[in-house]
Symmetry: C2
Subunit: 214 residues, 2 copies
Amino acid sequence: MSLISEKTIERLILYRGLLLQANHESESGIYSHQLGRMAGFTPAQVRRDLMQVGYTGSPARGYDIAKLIQSISALVDPAEKREIALAGIGSIGRAILAYFQGRSSLLEITAAFDTDPEKTDRVIHGCRCYPVDRLSEIILARGIRTGILCVPSGAAQSVTDAFVAGGVRGILNYAPTRLIVPPDVYVENRDMIMAVEKVVYFSGPRTGQRKETG
Amino acid sequence: MSLISEKTIERLILYRGLLLQANHESESGIYSHQLGRMAGFTPAQVRRDLMQVGYTGSPARGYDIAKLIQSISALVDPAEKREIALAGIGSIGRAILAYFQGRSSLLEITAAFDTDPEKTDRVIHGCRCYPVDRLSEIILARGIRTGILCVPSGAAQSVTDAFVAGGVRGILNYAPTRLIVPPDVYVENRDMIMAVEKVVYFSGPRTGQRKETG
């Protein structure tokens, strides 16, 4: 596999999401300028990205949507069903469990962890919940490599360490803190307060600051 | 005010979040290389960003943390308390209401909207809920300029249009779709499935693809 940057992967995943929607509208072909407009990128950027998945399309009819979805999926999807662990069954953790349930055929949150005995040893939104002190043991036994972190910031680093000890190599971090991880562990930070602060800044009465679309 | 890019604002908000944590640990000064390491940027990038808030620090003692937090806040925070509207009181919407409650003194979600009569005309996590057909009217009357979108993708565009008609100029979009908005409306997209897909890709068995930290 060639070297593909994080930003390219992010755009490819976005294109696929948009194409899956477009697909529902009985269109069979799409041009780079159309996809670019939907995604907020230039047609040249779209063509460069799609060249990386090895699908170039025809100038006359554009890209075949179904084939393009297939090509992107072949690149970005895991070869088989992938289990995901979630730590922190508070309001955000529960919402993610509920939101994920049945939404993806390839990705499934199969183990959730919390310190609160009221929340463990039961099933919440289809997911079995365990005490957090069994985290490393359970994810190691199951070969889980992806974790979603929804614990309070005070617990974020210790749970991260348990994720890493259990073999996790990618963390989606909803805790409002930065995590210290080994160089081969990927972290995507998604703090909600910081996201709102940013949107509030750009929705405020403008005094000349530059605006970009997200 | 000078022109400050979206990426700079995002980094400044991150620095402030990190500094607020560092502040708790009884440190009074911080160097650009320390802040850079915490945030995942170079010391030069940190210094460039902090020059934009007009606070340069002393080479010997680094930046004064309290003053730096103050300087960043003066730039990125609204001048007064800002109301935020939320549409879609499903699992994600409820989680955001719960998470936000009391967490910020300047930002408050003061109106939530849904189509389900079971969820409206009551208070959920401290926030008054209304029928979605009153959205434009209510946010216009209150001067609300920021919206959080948590509705299913099928309703996302129509609720976006109602936000925009009511005067919203910034939208935090948790719906798995791209929104069509006028050029003066800022959108930050936060689809959870795409975020997980990306993290799963980077946590998979590596076959040589480039890895970056998030």
